[in-house]
Symmetry: C2
Subunit: 395 residues, 2 copies
């Protein structure tokens, strides 16, 4: 295996590439193509935003009819093809048609992803040119270029790979803003050479997403384009049946978690990666509600950005999470520093609390004192650069 053979071409029998077709400025890579040598089982999860981009609508229809025989995924950055009406849907169909023509499969075997500005028509002529070029440059170690071609405000590509003796799973993802997945995610494609039925793959994917992509947030804005696809082509010859599903799900969760954490770490303008653990919750859903409330609080995120150990904001955010928390049972740690215990401030040293959040990795734990459930959420701080990036996104 070559050095580059990670991400979506880590598994056997997948070719990929990333090319520039002119949707982004400065000849940046903006079109990724993934093609499997054989038909794939495929599962997907999508944004629950009521405003869904054309490619999301298209992919859901394709998967509903044809989840057992997929062949290709094409992804463009630079244009989300969202809020574009029927014309936008026709543009997505034209994109799939061109892929089918260039790689030699049927259009209903192609999935389409788009990311970028909302409310702008996709330039299909540029996309067609990109697909023709991509079809010529597909290779078994092209995953790396593909992961670059889906980036928008990401500062680095996001890939992760697991190999075991039976099969490989590898994936790519992009962030970096409008990140608040809910039974879905940003854009991510994961491939495996395990053999698995679409139904089992779907089951494994939903379990993996619940503990990975649905546990990250950048700023709480849920996108119109969130899509996570997993494709399994069976090229390893190793088959996942009911009794192997637990191990497969665990591996898939590991890949998805690693990608999700990379997304949080590279959130728009991020200077710090923040891990929030909520323990002592009545159940995991409540733990997640509280953790996400903290993760999405602009006041918590700016305090951490400024290394101001203003922990009252964390307790406050827990208080409005919609969970019946009791302040007198709550205890809070910044790193190892216990700042709040059973409803009252401890005699901690402010310098210690400040030091605990001063670095590039911040760990916060809130115990609710109400039960045994724990969950972890990953996010980033809210910085001046976030404002700069999003105050002039289109320019």
């Amino acid at each position: 295996m070559s050095q580059q053979n990670i991400g979506i071409t880590a598994a056997k029998g997948f070719k990929a590439t990333g090319v520039a077709c002119g949707l982004k400025k400065n000849n940046a890579l903006d079109l990724a193509l993934l093609v499997s040598d054989d038909d794939c089982a495929c599962a997907g999860v999508f944004t629950t935003n009521r405003v869904q981009a054309a490619p999301v609508q298209f992919d859901k229809q394709v998967l509903a009819k044809n989840s057992g025989a997929l062949r290709a995924v094409v992804a463009n950055s630079g244009c989300a093809n969202a809020c574009t009406g029927d014309a936008g849907l026709a543009d997505t169909r034209a994109t799939a048609d061109e892929v089918a023509k260039q790689v030699g499969c049927r259009a209903e075997q192609v999935l389409v992803l788009s990311t970028g500005v909302i409310g702008v028509r996709l330039d299909v002529e540029k996309v067609r040119g990109g697909i023709a070029l991509a079809a010529k440059t597909l290779s078994y170690d092209g995953g790396d270029d593909a992961s670059k071609a889906i980036m928008t405000t990401d500062t680095r590509q996001k890939q992760f790979t697991i190999h075991n003796s039976q099969f490989a799973i590898g994936g790519m993802a992009k962030g970096a803003g409008m990140i608040h997945p809910n039974m879905a995610t940003l854009l991510s494609v994961i491939t495996t050479d395990a053999k698995i039925s679409p139904a089992l793959l779907d089951q494994a994917l939903r379990a993996a997403v619940a503990k990975s992509f649905n546990r990250v947030s950048v700023e709480g804005d849920m996108s119109t384009n969130d899509t996570l696809l997993v494709l399994a082509n069976g090229a390893s010859g190793y088959e996942i049946k009911e009794k192997e599903i637990e191990g497969f799900t665990k591996a898939l969760t590991q890949v998805a978690t690693a990608l999700a954490k990379q997304v949080a770490r590279d959130g728009e303008g991020a200077t710090k990666f923040i891990e929030i653990v909520v323990s002592g919750a009545p159940d995991e859903a409540d733990a997640a509600r509280v953790a996400k409330s903290i993760a999405n609080s602009p006041l918590c995120k700016t305090a951490i950005y400024g290394a101001d150990a203003n922990w009252g904001r964390v307790v406050c955010a827990a208080g409005y999470a919609g969970v019946d928390v009791l302040p007198e049972k709550m205890s809070l740690w910044f790193g190892e520093v216990n700042v709040f215990k059973n409803g009252t401030p401890t005699q901690y040293d402010d310098a210690d609390a400040t030091a605990a959040i001063a670095g590039a990795e911040v760990f916060i734990r809130l115990d609710l004192g109400m039960g045994n459930a724990t969950t972890t959420v990953w996010t980033c701080d809210l910085s001046h650069d976030y404002i700069t990036i999003n105050g002039k996104y289109r320019t």
Copy 2:
């Protein structure tokens, strides 16, 4: 009526003052005292955050027992007295005791408000000193100083007054961050010299709040200390009974709305005031849900800050509001510029859309095309200064 006689001393029979007691630095005003010549009917609404500051817990108990005979309100800035446990509650009680002693009433006739840093004990000795000083400087035109003494990161005081031939209503409020009221608000005190029962006053207050303070947001963080009090001492001799309640509620709503809009306009770091009208909703609650989702979207707020007419973010935020909106029925205006109509972008000129959001007052209207309900929400943009202010709030 003197020039200063606005705000909480606009109504007859109310004295107030603002003094410095050392909770804030640089001898800034940090303690406000309001005293009525006679017993007042009083109604209040409070934060629905599960973590409630000591003064919120205290005031709810007082109002439950004694809403017909209130005499005084004391408010401090510089310390929220939240997350301070039983000791914090004792500090609030000591504050009320001192007011009772100094102004000559019973402790159960006193309400307490606090705002400032969470998780820090209130310095009761400083507060006692401030109350003694305040009791000596109370005056019938002291509302102006009181409104200054409750400010935290506010850049200006917030007051509004209505006089009619029968009675007066005047109020003060403070912002400027952690603003996302829900059946409650920030800190605000409104007084009137109308005579009204506690029950009718409560009814009028809840109706007024629904259309005013519950329609503003700065960043979506709901505070531990939100409190709005209205006191009616009857000094005008004009009595509000069932048949006058509509007019009184209208006047109260006018005062509350003016104060709420001042809070949005002076949100932390705000450079623009934003009015969001959502029309064509199935009902007002759905309209408010969509409008607040837009008002709280960091991406919408930063785009407006940067005068980037990235309207897709507004449609996106409507899509995740938890309302079954249909993009194909939605139409959107930036000022007078219709950028999106029935699910597709219009042929608008980008320069016009940019101009529409470039000024200090931004008007956005989203029609959902689903019904006849309309609501309005007020907010501000999200700027570099918000990050600066909240990255070092305690220092």
